[in-house]
């Protein structure tokens, strides 16, 4: 049994790992990936020590720093459930592997929110994408839709009008992004905006060929012919694995005390999966450090 298991490999989990290694805790870091949302961040200008650094480069530096310590790493493993044992916790991975530790830091971050409409899951990667900055250029010269009305949707639409033949921007609500982005978009000639439209279905055999939307006011349906759907409707906390242990808040986040405690002795949480309102790399890293220091105190108490 490990002393400490850190679930999540973003800034919170990686900072927690460095602190755990320096406290010489027998530690397992388990994560679906390294870097989390920072992988999708082109430039970072507000992390201390760097006036500007690309997201991937910052992650590489974090990873290098963690890897110099002798902590076990299981990367590419998604924890689907965390359970309480008499003397600690057990994490069960999607593949069914089981890992035990006396204390746990849950730092699984956030993932892109899904529309949950028919066709979405089957066509993900086949025209449906959640990373506009990654996959956008693959769709140059094609007709695409951007679903969402916030800043990330508007930015995706702005990028795509430059390279796509046509862009349909579909939002359930009036556009909520910054006025400056809406202004810039109004200049685009190859853009249609559908606000207060519900996305009902994504169609396609093998690859996306169309999307069904419905006007919320008139209830009239419409089919858009297109080959790409960029879903930019925000983020959702990856908290399912602990939903049986802690009571999540209404956004699905893990509520914590100012010392990263979840209310269950030995279980701490840090970073964007928690109810800490500031979703920032520097904040997540700080929370990860705090969580390990608390977990260390807990483990010391257990030992005496």
């Amino acid at each position: 049994m490990y002393d400490l298991m850190i679930i999540g490999g973003g800034p919170a989990g990686l900072a927690a790992s460095v602190y755990a290694a320096r406290k010489q805790l027998n530690t397992l870091l388990i994560s679906i990936d390294i870097g989390g949302q920072v992988n999708k961040t082109l430039g970072v200008e507000n992390y201390m020590g760097y006036q500007f650094i690309e997201g991937p480069e910052l992650i590489d530096k974090f990873q290098t720093q963690v890897s110099q310590f002798p902590i076990d790493q299981k990367i590419g493993y998604k924890v689907s459930r965390l359970e309480k044992l008499d003397d600690g916790f057990e994490a069960i991975s999607e593949a069914g592997d089981r890992y035990q530790a006396k204390a746990v830091i849950y730092a699984a971050g956030k993932s892109p929110r899904k529309l949950n409409v028919p066709g979405e899951a089957e066509l993900t990667g086949r025209g449906v994408t959640y990373c506009a900055i990654c996959d956008g250029p693959v769709f140059s010269g094609q007709r695409v839709a951007v679903v969402g009305g916030g800043n990330s949707a508007l930015e995706a639409a702005l990028d795509m009008v430059k390279i796509a033949e046509h862009v349909d921007l579909v939002s359930l609500t009036p556009l909520t992004g910054d006025a400056i982005l809406i202004d810039k978009l109004s200049a685009a000639k190859n853009l249609s905006i559908f606000t207060e439209y519900q996305t009902e279905k994504i169609e396609g055999q093998g690859f996306v060929s169309g999307m069904l939307i419905r006007d919320l006011k008139s209830s009239e349906g419409k089919r858009l012919e297109l080959t790409g759907v960029f879903i930019e409707i925000g983020l959702t906390p990856n908290s399912e694995a602990v939903s049986g242990l802690v009571e999540l808040n209404k956004w699905g986040e893990v509520p914590i005390s100012c010392s990263c405690e979840t209310g269950i002795p030995g279980l701490y949480a840090a970073g964007d999966v928690t109810d800490v309102p500031e979703k920032q790399i520097v904040v997540a890293a700080g929370e990860g450090a705090k969580a390990t220091l608390q977990a260390h105190r807990y483990l010391q108490r257990l030992a005496t």
Binding site: D33, I34, G35, N39, K40, T41, L42, E54, G55, P56, E57, I59, D60, I75, G76, G125, R126, G127, T129, C131, I133, C134, D135, G136, P137, V138, F139, S140, G206, F207, G228
Partner: protein
């Protein structure tokens, strides 16, 4: 033993692609970078080989990896 032939299909704006390329470079593994944002043939080839449209796609000899998974990449690169 001959080195494995590594090709990465990428876009210039994709952070995961950059991480994958940086990782290969750091390991001293030569690779061909095909920019699917400008090279339509490469884009078609990528879609045909991987059956999907997301980047990066990395081919290691005849093996195909969609996305950047460092552990899997290490496994596919090992002799």
């Amino acid at each position: 033993m001959a080195d494995k032939k590594v090709v990465i299909y990428s876009t210039p704006t994709c952070p995961y692609c950059k991480r994958a390329k940086d990782y290969l470079s750091r390991k001293g593994i030569p690779f061909v970078d095909r920019n699917v944002a400008v090279d339509r043939d490469a884009a078609k080839e990528m879609i045909q080989k991987s059956g999907q449209m997301g980047v990066p796609v990395i081919t290691i000899d005849n093996e195909i990896m969609v996305g950047f998974n460092q552990a899997l990449l290490d496994k596919l690169l090992s002799p």
